[in-house]
Symmetry: C2
Subunit: 339 residues, 2 copies
């Protein structure tokens, strides 16, 4: 690591293209004097956009990439054929010690495949787990896995607990770890979940608090919630769907008639602040835990603010030295990974 | 069925006790002249409360039950030992043709066990599926199963699709049925989900629209979303958790200082209406589909309005003759249920 924290940005991926990544990089470098950004993508396009928008490129460099991974591209196809893509080159720059972390808003499957192939997982980790801070009343609750591992054995879920604990250590001295289930009684859940509970109860490194139901994701009662990628993905998408539904309802309510419009205008500053507090972009930036380097996924349709948040997550993980701490934790693991 | 629609109410269960059930019954009978209620529970307590509150008992009768199923009671224990409970007697009254439907806010597991034991499922249905209308932008989306069937074979999910379709037929002529998955690509999902998709695509009775992600629960793009009870339960609880989190944030925002309090007072009528539109009680009332009679579960902490909504759901299903229509649909089923 150089003195500055260097972040490689896949500037071409994501639904909104390079302008989001460039603007976010500019805002990010302006805010944090200790960071440097390398934008990977079509050089001409990136330079033209920066010039058009008169963006400062202080501590921002551009590295040309002739190809792009499409958002709907088959991950295996991307892995085999997109070695000149902005995604590949951005990730690979970590191996060449050109950057300390990589951020991309691209195709999750491709990012997972390339991340695993290029950055490698730590011994014993079959696939990285996707982990994200969820909106909670106080503090942060980390939920993992969010979709990388559809089928998990108890040993995987145990491993997720250890990795999630490391990430949560920055917000809580002794992170409370819960296991997602459909009830808190011992009889509830699948065999995999019951066996996982046994493993977690036996592991003195984990402050295991028991089964938690999905509504506890948002109360801040636990710091880490562990589940397989299928369950995590359902929870994440349901949360997004519910929040969007409520936001639309609120918007429609204030537009109903002239009276509600006047009311809306009066409380506008309040609504604006509320919206910013509830803004999903505040929670952008999912980490691929178990990889040997820091790789952060920004939401595909992230705006500038959201992309900036993903950059902040990446910077924080470099500062916290998360991969090395995960490696240390997992090397203490005595459980064999046989399936 | 008598001329009136008779609903048996387990008045003693639920977190808030009999007062909610009584008040809801009173409001319900006042609103619908075609209904009759039988309250099952401690006769003295029910009479005393009605008298104290000066509630009209027109078309409301009371049937004494000496026992109660506790909210945290083991369902099998309840099934074996609580034959004098308000829950048991209320459900059993359907077999004695004393009522056309039963509503309870009690222990879901006990309700499921007693419902299955007393009312029986239709041939081919191993366990009923719990189904509920979710809040959507327009119309209604029915989600099932919400927790009765943790492990499902493709044949079960196929069956849920047929049952859900019947329920949704009241809101859509040709209900669009989606299968909950973590992506829409054919490669996504577990083997069970992929095999279910094959079954649904082959069944001409079902207007199958493909895989849907959990955020689609709230958009109204599909009328029925089918999943196993584990996934449905996660979606339901995540939705509840998110909505509660946002509601708390809004409340806190308007209480921040005198300025926001004044703003809140000005838009109070609007907030009140918004709250009523988003009120979870509007969506109360989960059905146990696949049982031979109408059994509706009210949320454990339902208030009067929410309990009333569960009564409305029960009334509607009697009018629509849902069990008979499910029976007809399932008897046309050519798929064998071998596992």
């Amino acid at each position: 690591m150089s003195e500055r924290i260097r972040i490689a940005v896949d500037a071409m991926s994501g639904d909104l293209g390079p302008r989001v990544a460039i603007s976010a990089a500019q805002k990010f470098t302006a805010k944090f004097p200790d960071v440097e950004i390398v934008l990977f993508g079509n050089e001409q396009q990136l330079i033209t956009y920066s010039s058009l928008k008169k963006l400062s490129r202080q501590r921002i460099s551009i590295s040309n990439a002739t190809d792009v991974v499409a958002m709907d591209e088959d991950p295996l196809h991307a892995l085999r054929h997109k070695k000149n893509s902005s995604m590949w080159l951005a990730i690979d720059s970590l191996n060449k010690d050109l950057a300390d972390a990589c951020v991309s808003a691209g195709n999750t499957g491709a990012l997972l495949a390339m991340g695993k192939y290029l950055l490698k997982t730590f011994p014993g980790v079959e696939r990285p787990a996707i982990c994200k801070a969820m909106p909670v009343e106080q503090g942060q609750t980390y939920l993992l896995d969010l979709g990388a591992n559809t089928n998990c054995a108890p040993e995987h879920l145990h491993q997720f607990s250890l990795m999630g604990k490391i990430l949560a250590a920055s917000v809580s001295a002794e992170p409370r770890v819960g296991l997602l289930n459909i009830g808190t009684e011992a009889t509830k859940g699948t065999d995999v979940i019951k066996s996982t509970q046994d493993l977690l109860q036996q592991d003195s490194r984990i402050n295991y608090v028991g089964y938690v139901e999905a509504n506890k994701i948002f109360t801040g009662e636990v710091d880490v919630i562990v589940c397989d990628g299928f369950h995590g993905n359902i929870a994440l998408k349901t949360c997004e769907g519910t929040a969007r539904f409520i936001a639309k309802k609120i918007q429609a309510a204030f537009k109903r008639n002239w009276f509600t419009r006047v009311g809306g205008a009066i409380v506008w500053p309040l609504l604006k602040q509320l919206r910013s507090e509830l803004d999903p972009s505040m929670y952008n930036g999912a980490s691929f835990l178990g990889l040997q380097k820091v790789l952060v996924k920004s939401h595909g349709n992230a705006n500038k603010k959201a992309f900036m948040q993903a950059l902040i997550v990446a910077r924080e993980q470099v500062i916290q030295n998360i991969p090395a701490r995960i490696q240390r934790e997992l090397s203490n693991q005595t459980i064999s990974f046989q399936q």
